[in-house]
């Protein structure tokens, strides 16, 4: 038997490692835009993407906000879903059985309404061996302490990260909110408090008004802006954070094409998350992975690490 000889272009190495988690490539969904994974199984091979990031989980099920919850704006989308989720127990019982069958790291995004709740969810995650890491959402108000958003105050952010770090026996990714004056201050605070990696940015608070009814277009009045509209802001913030911390950074914000993801990698993100674009095209993550690979081949890049942080200043 003779092997057919043909010219094959050698595929670049796409694997990256974040806080000890090995990813086959640097592209994963952003929390809240991919359900619990299973919703997207009809549209892409979940064993070809870098990781799966779950919808934000809380100790108790959460019903979310009144409707309307979403509104499209120019090249973006405002949402105030209100972190609706099934709760950590139902997640373990009903969503893990599917996720467990996959050969892809699962990152559990989670949040709490108080310090104690954050700690409790972190402890429960320890009971799920197939969860590769936790991604901590600190863009929530501290209900017990005047409603200040943990992630907008370096002290509060540091406190919640330190507490979760103490309880969580898995790598800890902390997701930062962009709704601050200087994101590097919070980034430094969470790194010092024990974050193994940082993901940024979460949505940018925005508002849109229906000029005929003169009412806010979403019931919650304000919501989080996502989509292509926010990408330059996200790239700038990821760049700033990369310059500030030494832990790996996952870039998020308005990625919908391979070239968008490449921007984040070049400024130094070790991986990226794709959010709103999943709603527009449910197989977009695969398209982005393929596009990055193609770019590497065209540019003669053999390993994705040659690209990461290659920004020329």
């Amino acid at each position: 038997m003779s092997e057919t000889t043909r010219t094959t272009v050698k595929k670049p190495s796409m694997a990256v490692e974040i806080a000890g988690i090995k990813l086959r490539n640097p592209v994963m969904p952003a929390s809240g835009t991919f359900g619990y994974g299973e919703e997207y199984a009809p549209f892409l091979d979940l064993e070809k993407i870098g990781a799966i990031v779950t919808k934000g989980l809380s100790l108790k099920p959460k019903a979310g906000n009144p409707t309307p919850r979403i509104a499209e704006t120019i090249s973006g989308m405002l949402n105030a879903i209100g972190l609706q989720n099934v709760g950590i127990e139902a997640f373990i019982q009903h969503k893990m059985p599917f996720l467990r069958t996959l050969n892809t790291p699962v990152i559990a995004n989670f949040f709490g309404n108080s310090l104690e709740e954050y700690g409790e969810v972190a402890k429960r995650l320890n009971d799920i061996p197939e969860i590769a890491a936790g991604e901590l959402n600190i863009s929530c108000p501290n209900v017990k302490q005047g409603g200040i958003v943990f992630g907008t105050d370096p002290k509060a952010a540091s406190e919640v990260v330190a507490l979760v770090r103490k309880h969580l026996q898995k790598p800890l990714i902390v997701k930062l909110t962009p709704n601050v004056t200087d994101i590097t201050v919070v980034a430094r605070a969470v790194e010092e408090a024990g974050a193994d990696a940082i993901s940024c940015i979460n949505t940018i608070t925005g508002m849109s008004v229906d000029i005929h009814t003169r009412k806010p277009r979403i019931a919650n009045r304000t919501g989080g802006l996502s989509g292509p509209a926010i990408r330059p802001i996200a790239v700038r913030m990821v760049h700033q954070v990369v310059q500030t911390v030494s832990v790996p950074v996952i870039g998020i914000g308005g990625i919908s094409r391979p070239m968008d993801a490449l921007e984040f990698l070049i400024v130094g993100a070790k991986a990226v998350q794709v959010g709103t674009a999943n709603f527009v095209d449910p197989s977009v993550i695969q398209t982005i992975i393929d596009g990055i690979e193609e770019f590497c081949i065209d540019e003669g890049i053999k390993d994705i690490h040659e690209l990461i942080g290659s920004l020329r200043l």
């Binding site: 835009t33 359900g35 009144p66 979403i70 609706q84």
Partner: protein
């Protein structure tokens, strides 16, 4: 359910402001049920960013041509030009590339056929009733369709419904076609005549509310198809939720229109909340 990267077969105005688009979609008709919908991507460039949900009007296939190629399966949507997205859609032509995700959601539930079936459609709400009418006729039901609109422009596809064997009744608010007045007036009359009928309705929320009140008063089973704005259509964004019956602050019940719906049995919905969120007062 599939994400089709496909093209338009035809796109025609069928009544002022209403268009029917036929899109190539191999394998679509095998899985599609009446009352389901598609998420349609107007174009690859922005805006608009998000896809838009459209009810399936019908599915079918073009006969094989002389080249002996296999028949071409298609799906048809009917849309009304109301905003930026639909304005762009109206300008699309045969052969233009589009993306289509579907069939999505839970459609109508019409298992048996004893007694009359009354379909109530208001304007663009007529769309999902065409396939339903066809399915019910096939099961041997007597199907009556009450078509309502503001003006004659809102009434379309009458001949096609009639060709299925449906008895149609037209009413318009301004009397420009059929009876003058609201479609629910006709419904009340029909229910007096056919007290054991089952009702299926799709249309604007004030109409659905009125239909629901009439059906409650007559103890008539009712299924409604809802329209909510949505981002993903597959149950991930949780943007299209409606409150379920018995929803309270303490025990909230939010149902995804895209996944649990878009067709609901009326008793499972919180009608006061629905009416309020659509700015049309309360239901009884």
């Amino acid at each position: 359910m599939k994400n089709y990267r496909t093209k338009i077969i035809s796109n025609q105005e069928i009544s002022p402001g209403y268009y029917r688009m036929r899109i190539l979609a191999p394998g679509f008709s095998e899985t599609a049920h009446s009352g389901q919908f598609v998420m349609f991507r107007v174009q690859r460039s922005l805006p608009p960013l998000l896809r838009r949900p459209f009810g399936i009007f019908r599915t079918g296939s073009l006969p094989a041509d002389c080249d002996g190629l296999p028949p071409k399966e298609f799906v048809e949507i009917v849309y009304k030009v109301v905003g930026r997205g639909t304005t762009i859609m109206a300008e699309l032509h045969e052969g233009d590339k589009v993306e289509l995700l579907g069939p999505l959601g839970n459609g109508f539930d019409a298992p048996s056929c004893d007694g009359e079936r009354i379909l109530v459609g208001g304007g663009i709400g007529l769309v999902p009733l065409y396939m339903l009418a066809g399915e019910l006729i096939e099961k041997g039901c007597n199907v009556r369709l009450l078509m309502g609109g503001r003006t004659r422009d809102d009434i379309f596809a009458v001949t096609e419904f009639e060709r299925l064997g449906v008895e149609t009744y037209v009413s318009t608010d301004d009397g420009s076609l059929g009876e003058e007045g609201v479609v629910t007036k006709v419904l009340e009359r029909k229910l007096q005549k056919f007290p054991k009928a089952e009702v299926f309705a799709c249309g604007p929320m004030p109409m659905l509310c009125a239909v629901r009140d009439i059906c409650v008063a007559n103890k008539t089973p009712l299924q409604v198809s809802l329209e909510e704005s949505m981002a993903c259509g597959v149950g991930a964004c949780l943007g299209c939720v409606v409150k379920g019956a018995g929803h309270t602050e303490e025990r909230p019940s939010y149902l995804c229109t895209c996944k649990v719906g878009p067709v609901f049995k009326a008793q499972y919905l919180d009608w006061n909340a629905l009416a309020q969120s659509h700015g049309c007062g309360g239901c009884e």
